[in-house]
Symmetry: C2
Subunit: 145 residues, 2 copies
């Protein structure tokens, strides 16, 4: 699934041509794991490829809701090379395969100051397993230095 999800164009083609692809929990879980992996690699095209064309991001919740490609280019582009993303606990999916969520801890150093951000990211998926919505829940108290 990682390979399929890593290319939007290939995924589109695959689903349209074959149309026998079955969405399951692994597709959702792999997409969320690939999201975390892409953050660790600062891989902007890779992370955008996990989203549907109409996908949106709100990071953090309470800030602006942006088109995923714009928001992720800005957010991932702003990450220092030293930023690491680690899951705190296993990824959660959902019974209807409409969404999932995961808790992660981000560690980075900005201007010689180490920082820790603890977020829970909640994803919605379309029937092709592409992310249509990402909301990152963390408040000021979830950020420490």
């Amino acid at each position: 699934m990682y390979t399929i999800l890593s290319s939007d164009i290939f995924a589109e083609k695959y689903f349209k041509m074959e149309n026998k692809f079955e969405l399951n929990e692994d597709v959702l879980r792999n997409a969320m794991q690939s999201y975390v992996d892409a953050l660790n690699k600062k891989d902007i095209p890779g992370i955008i490829s996990l989203f549907a064309e109409e996908g949106t991001v709100e990071d953090p919740v309470g800030s602006v809701i942006e088109k995923a490609s714009d928001g992720l280019t800005r957010l991932v582009g702003a990450l220092p090379e030293n930023a690491t993303f680690k899951l705190d606990t296993p990824i959660r999916t959902s019974h209807d395969l409409s969404g999932g969520a995961f808790a992660m801890t981000v560690e980075l150093t900005l201007n010689d100051t180490p920082m820790k951000i603890q977020s829970i990211d909640v994803m919605q998926f379309n029937k092709q397993g592409l992310i249509t919505e990402m909301k990152a829940y963390y408040g000021p108290s979830n950020i420490s230095s």
Copy 2:
């Protein structure tokens, strides 16, 4: 805050009479912690008091969306006395105080079979700090025995 949030009626009165209550991250975090505490105590009135009158629950995501008082009476009422709820990682809030999320592990024994359910619960709040929506994200693979 726990005391205020533990009674819907008192909270309503408090906010209407004083109207100088300020919502902050602690209100949200305390409400979510009280939710976990009430689950551990199987305290149905206590858990319902954390919700707004119009509040809803969807547990798990993909099942029915119910009025909070109905859904929680059913869900908490069905819990075996031995069920325990533990946070996996600190509670997350949000910058606009509209919502929050937490990851927890539920352990229980049903018909002599120990079970573990790992959920991420996502909450929306009104301006009084009462929960308007709860969605519990967990799929079949997040349940183990």
